[in-house]
Amino acid sequence: MAAVKIPSRDELVQRVTDIMPVLRANALWGDQHQRLADESVDAMIGAGVLRMLAPAHYGGYESDMQTILDVDILLARADGASAFCTTAWWAQCWAVAHFPDSVQDEVFAGPHGADVRICGTLVPNGKGEITKDGVVVSGDWGFNSGAWHSQWKVLSTLALNAAGEIEPIAAVVPMSDLELVDDWDVAGLRATGSVTLVARDVFIPRQRFQWMSQVARQDYDSERNADSPCYRGPIIGVLSAINTGEKIGLAQAARDAFFERMYGRPIQHTGYQSQAEWPVTHVQVAEADLKIDEAEYHARRLATLVDDKNQSNEPYSLRERAYCRMAVGRVSQLCYEAIEIYNLASGAGSIYSSMPIQRIQRDMQAINVHALNMPAKNLELYGRVLCGLEPNTFFI
């Protein structure tokens, strides 16, 4: 496989900056059609965004988390759904890089190369019957963001392990083996096209599934990626770090949308001719800005933690693992609050579908009810650990 020159952080930022107008122009179409526009996906492929966490062996970039964060913020500043799908694809790219090298050959050396899109979710559903040379899986999985543009899916289901216990497995399946149910009729993140996928007695060969206990032990199957800083470390680190930029970018987009309209707007039924001169506005924008800045502080701190661990190969302390979750929750909370301020200060003219701010608010609302983002859950977990209790989830 030919070695690919990996672009610098600055170059990737420039490339993404260049495609932002395309993503922005297609955002309304995506919201109306409940999926990403082909043009947006193609633009992200062209910029190299979708190969950032693919193995370098196949032309991927194995990017560090600070670069991922830069890119994710810019994507979401243009279109939240594009960023959200990208995060979902990054997560599964990273997951597949821990499967046996022969599986990676199938996934990353196919017609799409390192730009292959793999959708997937973490929640186990359905059931798997272990056979002599694999597993036969049936079930349905909701919330498959980016499924319309994906070639593979990583699914999680439950099967009986060698000890006779029920244990989750993660399996890599081609989309052609699955049925797609177009049930994505939702309030927020509409353009992510997060449809349900169904498997009916799908056979998955042994090398394409992993027991979760093995993943939790960081006992990964890939020999080729074993020493890559990008792929060592627990799933909680990378999965958290790739999951903050989209929120910050959305909040910045709300700020952009607000400031674009603010100067010409009077405060109706008051003497204020310009919203920009209203002292209430000043406190609102300051409050929102400092929340966005604080969100980025947590995101940068988390990215630094994960990048440092990936470089040093040091284990995470329980408190550090809990902070990974806390950072995602707090970024979600702060960005939600910032967007709420800008949205509520935008006047009745802002509720038209063509106005970005109302879409941003709906997207952020959908993000905040996501099981991994929900602030209350992450706060509780972090607080438990700070108080010296054991975590109440395996996902840490």
Partner: protein, 393 residues
């Protein structure tokens, strides 16, 4: 005059951290006696912490802002009033560095000199032969009874018949002290009222503030020192923001110290630490403390990065220094409020530290320069394209 070697940055912070047990030990006494304990002042002096913002040529350290802020925050982990007073001393000892060099020779002759100061112009300077005669009154004069010098804002007539803000440099022994410091918070800061009556000041000890606020000063010898090239308000803001952080860190320590073994009375919880409500509170408060730290360090870094370069500060950068100050105070107060409210009825006793942190951080948040709403409004004005509505930026 011997020029001492400045200790490494980390060591100063560690020295401050080592003082925390002593400071905590004296905190109740100080709260009751409305001044700092002599042993605390002696320990701060011995640790060299009064020299951080004194020119190197007098034996000072010219410490950068990150170090200074971290030291002030560590002292605040011990006690809010100690931290606040140390911040005031650090601001005013820096302010003396704006004065003509011969004035500095007199004041910094002792590099551990304690100089307090007031930013609100509370007096009038009338020009006379060779100087000015000052009359006026300054309230909230932190540490006045435990300082030697005082930098006090005033106004003076200009040749064109107008008025300009000036900074005076006065010996504390020349002022009358009115002990009116009976307050709910920051009690140990001893922020009494001081009065000047027909007090003569040589011209060199009256400094026009307009240029100082714009980052110009009268000292030749400090002209190239990075810390003295920095603008006044961001410098002062970063120092006092660290006080808020220190109080929040102190409250956090105080909360976790009492948590083990505490029940939640009239409920079935045998351990407060096992209640999910506690987990929410703790996570929320600890995160806000971290965020207060982010604001303090961002403000300090802006000074340390731009300090040496001599690059001018944009209005938005100046406003951000004020925003970071307001946000640090706001987040610190939110954190302390959450922890204080979770500390139970027994926490209201005078010898339980958390109630003192709460009184102190509330008082801090009421200060005219530190008040979050004032700072947010100012930053918001600038971001919306309006002018500043204060010269204190």
């Amino acid at each position: 005059m011997s020029v001492s070697q400045a200790p490494p940055k980390e060591e100063l912070v560690q020295r401050a951290a080592k003082l925390v047990p002593l400071i905590r030990d004296k905190a109740v006494w100080m709260d009751e006696n409305r001044c700092l304990h002599d042993e605390v002042i002696a320990a701060i002096t011995d640790a060299g912490l009064l020299r951080m913002r004194v020119p190197v040529r007098y034996g000072g350290f010219e410490s950068d802002m990150t170090t200074t802020a971290n030291v002030i925050a560590e002292l605040g982990r011990g006690d809010g009033s100690v931290s606040w007073t140390a911040a005031v001393w650090a601001i005013s000892s820096w302010m003396v560095g704006m004065f003509p060099d011969e004035v500095q020779d007199e004041v910094y002759a002792d590099p551990d000199v304690r100089i307090c100061g007031i930013l609100s112009p509370g007096a009038m300077c009338m020009p006379v032969d060779g100087g000015y005669v000052v009359n006026g009154k300054w309230s909230f004069n932190t540490g006045a009874q435990q300082s030697t010098w005082n930098t006090n804002a005033a106004v003076a007539p200009t040749p064109d018949g107008g008025m300009q803000p000036v900074m005076t440099l006065i010996r504390i022994s020349d002022l009358e002290i009115i002990d009116d410091w009976n307050t709910s918070g920051l009690r140990a800061s001893g922020s009494v009222t001081t009065i000047a009556k027909d007090l003569f000041l040589p011209a060199a000890r009256v400094l026009p503030m307009g240029p100082v606020l714009q980052g110009q000063h009268l000292s030749q010898l400090n002209a190239n020192a990075p810390i003295f090239k920095a603008p006044f308000m961001p410098t002062a803001c970063a120092k006092v923001s660290a006080v808020a952080l220190g109080m929040a860190l102190g409250a956090k320590d105080a909360f976790f110290e009492r948590l083990p073994g505490r029940k939640i009375t009239y409920t079935s919880y045998e351990n407060q630490s096992e209640a999910p409500v506690t987990h929410m509170e703790v996570a929320d408060a600890v995160t806000r403390v971290d965020e207060a730290g982010f604001h303090v360090h961002r403000a300090a870094q802006a000074l340390d990065t731009k300090g040496g370069s001599g690059e001018p500060w944009t209005l938005e950068e100046r406003a951000r220094a004020r925003l970071d100050l307001g946000a640090a105070c706001q987040r610190a107060k939110e954190a302390v409020d959450v922890l204080n409210s979770a500390s139970g009825g027994s926490s209201t006793y005078r010898d339980v530290p958390i109630q003192r942190y709460e009184r102190d951080v509330t008082t801090l948040n009421l200060h005219a320069i530190l008040h979050p709403a004032t700072n947010l409004e100012l930053y918001g004005r600038i971001v919306c394209g309006l002018d500043s509505n204060t010269p204190y930026i």
